[in-house]
Amino acid sequence: MSGWLSARAVTVVVLLAALALLPVYVELGGSRFLLTLFTRIIILAMAAVSLNLILGFGGMMSFGHAVYLGIGGYAVGMLAHEGIYSGFVQWPVALAASALFALVIGALSLRTRGVYFIMLTLAFAQMAYYVVAGLARYGGDDGLTIYKRSQFFEPINLSNKTQFYYICLALLYASIYLVWRIVNSRFGMVIQGSRSNDTRMRAIGFPTFRYKLTCFVIAGVLCGLAGALLANHTDFVSPAMMYWTRSGDLIIMVVLGGMGSVVGPVFGAIALLVLEETLSGITEYWQIILGPLLLLVVLFARGGIDGLLRKVRYA
């Protein structure tokens, strides 16, 4: 077993500390754009962490996970549009709506497996996309501008960029810790056993469906929270938040970072979005570079970035 000073542990600690110190760097003269970029990275990393709970640990290949970004985001956007700005209303509604949606589509799609599960989760997410795009009152296809961010008590102010960054970061760290506790608990052992061999799990006495469904709902709620943050970050929601390519991005983050590793999706989110940012500065056809890169990871580094770090040993 790797000790405390393994390359992986060092990288994780350095990374978490660097994220915590980023606003200080910006204050000392770094680009303010960095703060905006990394707020976005942190929010999407949270969504990827939640996807990893079902995908990496539970083996549930959901291809519609971005739908919760949309649901959480629209909960904030719609309520704000109706003049309800309190975060104490908006956020619980965002979480409850995500939970309900996950419960319903989970109950229907978790009865299937493999490609059918992928298609069902994709289909339900696309359905939600078209429903939202049809809501003329809330901007339809064009989306909805949010004029005031979620209101909490003083001195919490989401419009303060540094404060908002730290709130997102704290919630990301909390979700990583939560997922870490969950996957190592009895519940988590059932989820991992079911990924490994579901038939055998049922044969030894686990009614796996209800565990998988619970896990599916937890992941949906976590991603719904990320959606509420994202809406506040961009001051705007649109159906594009839950388009299927967004779900694809989240899967890429998980695979790139390392499936079934608690911190993997954070590596993946940073790698994907920083690459996207730099490559798109070089050429508008940046995806031509990203594609082969992903191919290399899938072919030669199955464990993703986290898997590579685990292999690094001191001489």
Binding site: R186, N197, G205
Partner: protein, 252 residues
Amino acid sequence: MPDLLQVENLAKRFGGIVATDDLSIAIPEGQLHAVIGPNGAGKTTLIAQLSGQLTPDSGHIQFAGSDITALPMPARSALGLARSFQITSLFLDLSVLDNVALAVQAHAGHSFHFWRDARGQVELRDPARAALARVGLTARENLPASALSHGEHRQLELAMALASKPRMLLLDEPMAGLGPEESARMVAMLRELKKELTILLVEHDMEAVFALADRITVLVYGRVIASGKPEEIRNNAQVRDAYLGEQEAVHG
């Protein structure tokens, strides 16, 4: 002694093929009952119906006094009916100890516990270690299950079945693919287990069957053609024709 398992007029068809044909078996508590028969006789189909993986078309299965014909797999397992698989079916990416600990956890109440580290819980780990010790895998407990040999996979299968503290074991060809030495070890292990458990054994290895069984049932095309003590089966002309003769012919 009362019968622990009672199967009455069980039938299962797959299209035109009759896999189980009006089959009845009664197994009293404490007995090791072997089911033998040529390939395609419906032995695995029988075990699948007993464990709840397949639903019979008609007939009844009683276990420990209650009708379990319509119960799903987890409920049967909770009543104390444990199954081992013919094709080894383990959690290959989990550790050997995790495999057995999961079997213990399956019978330790519901698993909606989200916070405490499961790998630190002695109430799961200790019984798991005890089961591993009984099958002689203690030294391998931290390896991933995928790193074990075929024979060790069988031992692990058995440890998992034992860890659920079953009243009855359904063993589907536990000797399949084992070398002579591993087979002998498995026979010795089953001889020990048979002192405390009721066992239904499906097995091709005749030497093992006749060494272990209290009673033997012979299946051909899903039907029972004979059932009795080992010596009765050995001397049964119909069985010799249908099965044992063929085996001897095959193995020269």
